[in-house]
Subunit: 346 residues, 2 copies
DNA sequence: TTTAGCACTCCCGAGTTGGGAGTGCTATGT
DNA sequence: ACATAGCACTCCCAACTCGGGAGTGCTAAA
């Protein structure tokens, strides 16, 4: 694939860089003058012609400058993927912000989303660390008043959820505690699947609570798919979205969420922790994203708890900025997840 | 103020109605033909001229139709305010959706936001019911593993929050329970203010936990200000936001939130439960909303727990649709809050 | 007081046009 | 064989023009 001469490569990368900055088709003259190249515009024209032939460039009109194709962006991204580094000062700022924040998953998510959005000037997308095989850890039932009972369900991985139940008849705290103790020994360390095969219990209260636990585990899965987002308006800044029709199509993705979930699902299943993926132009699969690119990374601890961070922007987004930022934030989040798990297993 | 003749009033209302539908300046001819008026275009022109003089209408250019001014919209709204009714079928659908939903505040909020957005085709804004003077109800401390402790804090009004603490040294469940019992009797029924004057405790664990409770109460206030939103892209559908610059300014409000909070705060303090307020063109106070209108209502139980629902749209939003919808949703939410409080005091 | 008639204003969309940026090709130089 | 200068050609785009049309205000008559 790398059947490009050194000069072609230089020109291609420069042209894309220029186009990303200016959003204007780039001509031979501009390229020559702006980057002090030691060959003439005619030579550049010849090379550009070749690059067009090879599918890396495209002409919007017969007599306009060149614009990168999706293939061109792919080449550009693969070239810079391993070079791009985040300035140390920015790294410090980011990691500082995280260590300042309160040690709650929700805080981390919104913080990550906010940082990614401002750094990349795109729309950020973050999902909470999700334990695919969350194991039961602890259940607590607390009578609060009348028929109302507070159920607290703790899963390994630090995931906690509470819920207020209203029982059909009042139950003493003692009986609640007994039920909790029985269920705790019964369910300890079990996965949701294992739990769902235990639906019949002798004690009717045990039975009721067990069903509620299962329901809650269902919701937990839904909740794990909750997507944090920031910087939506950044997309409106880009000239390619100036007709509001295009912008609407893109922003709609973030309101409906289903496409987004689909996308994150498909993308992450075949990606490793720390591995970065760049989707360009929806990769033919997501019509809504034909104008966009997305930089996505998986973070967390494989098999224990993983989530996603990503940035969506126009196809001519600043990859040089976005790629290292996403990578770095994913790294920080991985560390945080690691720490949490380590703390738990002390 | 109602110094308008019956005919002027009719014409004004018709014109605004027409403009809301078409987004085009309305001329005398269109008005006459479209609504089978039994007076001529010349008469209409005279009346329109008078209405312009009175400040209800405006001409975009010397020879264009008329467009309502903010004053015009205000008149329109005050005229229809008490007339507008939501069709019963829609009422049923909405109330059905709420009673289908799980009895959790978060569910209600997202549901309300979604319903308002789809019904009104605007951007919905909903805040959770917030108990200004939440009283302490119950504290629970549960040792989970190692130095990690789960703190569950229940306030009157059904507000529950849990948090995982990591103590500096391991503590037995027994000691935790003792602390919880002591603090429960100490704090029962107290307001945050009362609690914050109790900062010194003899037992160091009691002391630590008390501080954490106060921190959590702080966060609870912040959280109560959390704003649920839906239908952001609806705004992009409107022609007045077709240049993305305008749209960006408006959507930005929903990302930054501070303006929105300011607005909700100022608006709700002087409004009663069930009372509807319509802000037109930012009322001179919110520059960002100069193009927009907002329909806002307060819901809940005064003095116990109240929140806000509202819809933001272009100034030519469909008030006839939005006003009764906001009113109805506020009513349903009030009922739900009422039920919750009643359940609690059984 | 309403209405018909009329001159006037001014927006807006459809053509028209010229300049400019960029291209590909060819011929010439290295 | 490759790079470059020169040149004719293409085609976009912004500016300009222009006529129709919608709407107005005024006046005079009913």
């Amino acid at each position: 694939m790398t059947n490009l001469t050194e000069r072609q490569k230089t020109l291609l990368l420069l042209l894309i860089k220029d186009y990303i900055e200016t959003a204007q088709p780039v001509g031979s003259k501009r390229l020559a003058e702006h980057y002090h190249l030691n060959f003439s515009t005619a030579t550049i024209r010849n090379e550009m012609s070749a690059l067009t032939e090879l599918g890396y460039l495209r002409q919007p009109h017969t007599s306009a400058g060149r614009v990168p194709t999706e293939e061109g962006y792919r080449y550009f991204v693969s070239e810079m993927m391993n070079k791009a580094e985040l300035p140390e000062s920015v790294q410090h700022t980011i990691s500082h912000q995280f260590h300042q924040s309160r040690p709650e998953v929700e805080q981390w998510m919104t913080l990550a989303a906010s940082i990614l959005a401002t750094q990349s000037q795109g729309v950020s997308v973050v999902t909470a660390p999700h334990t695919e095989q969350a194991k039961f850890k602890h259940l607590e039932l607390i009578s609060t008043q009348g028929r109302q009972v507070l159920m607290v369900l703790v899963m390994m991985g630090g995931d906690v959820r509470q819920q207020i139940l209203t029982l059909t008849e009042p139950v003493t705290q003692e009986r609640l505690s007994q039920t909790a103790t029985r269920l705790n020994t019964l369910l300890a360390g079990k996965t949701p699947q294992a739990i769902s095969s235990l639906t019949t219990r002798p004690d009717p209260l045990d039975q009721d609570i067990l069903i509620l636990i299962l329901q809650d585990l269902q919701n937990r899965i839904k909740r794990a798919n909750e997507i944090y987002t920031d910087g939506l308006t950044n997309v409106l800044r880009e000239p390619e979205f100036s007709e509001s029709g295009e912008a609407r199509k893109t922003l709609k993705i973030f309101e409906e969420r289903s496409t987004l979930q689909d996308l994150l699902q498909k993308t992450t299943t075949n990606s490793n922790i720390g591995g970065l993926q760049v989707l360009i132009g929806g990769e033919g699969e997501w019509e809504e994203l034909r104008q966009c690119s997305m930089v996505i990374a998986r973070y967390g601890v494989a098999g224990m708890a993983t989530g996603m961070v990503g940035v969506l922007g126009p196809m001519r987004m600043s990859y040089a900025r976005t790629i290292p930022t996403v990578r770095y934030v994913a790294g920080v989040l991985s560390d945080l997840v690691n720490d949490t798990i380590a703390e738990e297993n002390r």
